[in-house]
Amino acid sequence: MKCCRLLILCAILLPGCTSVTIDELRHRQTSVEIAEGEYVVLLGRRQSSNYETEPELVDCISKTLASNNVAVIPEQQFVDALYPWFEPRTAPMRVKDMNRLLARKQVAQRIDSYKIRYIIWVDGNTETTGSAGSIGCSIGTGGAGCFGFGTWDKESDYEATIWDYRDLQNLGKISADAEGTSYMPAVVIPIPIIARVQNNACKAMAEQLYSFFQPVGASQNNVPGLE
């Protein structure tokens, strides 16, 4: 029993390795700040036919920013309130498309009611790029057990585009590429050593977005809880 507990503890404490690369592009070098009473909304791009920006990734970035005193409107609440103008086939693809949308008085009023200052579009996904190994399990009268070794690679590729809703400008882009390998050795009990690729991409993206909204030249405050 103690052995089992130890193995489970090992599985929790031994995360697989993940590497994250962050790139930032600013279209203007002036400060981008969020004033008191201004809100940010993060929206996932879902127009591609072969992948979908995961709602949980958008939610993860939103929650991480919100935990650092950035006022964030939940994605689903915003999209439902603006239905059908931010659906996959109707959402504005470029910042200048917002002019067409804001020509409708009721749409402009609804967005204004949320006191939105920045709209952040997140596009990308996480996928398994390769796997190897095998694990066999068997059950007999004497008990059950598994033996073998499995490994799989995951890659995350996300890009966030920041729009200034007040000035209708594209402020810049942040990309987060993460990759990691998970392992599962099995000697009687399989021990998963999971690389939290998507979660690390989320944390890195949130940290970079947080620093994006700091005054230019100010020291970067690390988001608490990030490595």
């Binding site: 072969n50 979908e52 059908p84 659906e87 086939r89 009721q106 609804r110």
Partner: protein
């Protein structure tokens, strides 16, 4: 039949039952943010539409039974009532001898339902395609417009999400997309636009008539 045989048949039936994915699509749809037009509209849902259930007949695919009747009625009621301001659900199409007080009657029909599951494609998404034929009639049953409307929805596979829940989510996204299409394109259908312009012109030239017959409000 001996007990052993009965048990075997029962087990076989249970196994076969286990291979079927059955679901009744359920979900909520937001109220569209569109400016309503002031028209008295009726909608007619025939029995096929009300009880629409897709049953997979292909032997090469998994057995799926997907019931969308209630969900699509909920969507159409929500979108049409917001789009036109006043909506009544009627039980029969109008005829020349039995005209309705409604300005326009809309009759939606589902003509195609398609889906794909991750094991059939290399993408880890469930997908649903919907295709509807909408017909609009005047109060005397004359055809005003006839057009096609489509909806597409997909949902990524998620850990611990059952096949039925994932398919339901994809169907709700497809209906939501259909609702977006219905909200934004109905008033752009050339025949509907011409009918509305004509109606406005008549209203502008003819003085308002005294108390006219009203359609029963939506329950």
């Amino acid at each position: 039949m001996p007990n052993t045989a009965k048990t075997a048949v029962l087990m076989l039936l249970l196994l076969l039952q286990g291979c079927t994915n059955a679901l009744k699509v359920e979900g909520d749809f937001p109220i569209p943010l569109v400016k309503p037009t002031a028209h008295n509209i009726a909608v007619y849902y025939d029995d096929t539409f009300r009880t629409y259930t897709y049953t997979e007949e292909s032997k090469d695919r998994g057995k799926w039974i997907i019931e969308t009747g209630d969900a699509q009625i909920k969507l159409f009621n929500q979108v049409l009532s917001q789009l036109f301001g006043d909506l009544t659900v009627i039980s029969a199409l109008p005829e020349a001898e039995a005209p309705l007080a409604a300005d326009l009657v809309i009759h939606p029909k589902i003509i195609e339902f398609q889906y794909s599951v991750p094991r059939e494609t290399r993408f880890k998404v469930y997908e649903v395609w919907l295709k509807y034929n909408l017909s609009a009639y005047n109060s005397h049953g004359g055809l005003v417009a006839d057009w096609i409307l489509t909806g597409y929805g997909k949902t990524p596979t998620a850990f611990m999400l059952s096949d039925e829940k994932a398919m339901n989510a994809a169907a709700v996204v497809a209906l939501r997309d259909l609702g977006a299409n219905l909200s934004l394109t109905t008033l752009r259908v050339p025949e509907i636009r011409a009918w509305m312009e004509n109606k406005s012109r008549i209203l502008a030239t003819v003085p308002a008539s005294p108390a006219s017959e009203t359609v029963e409000p939506k329950p």
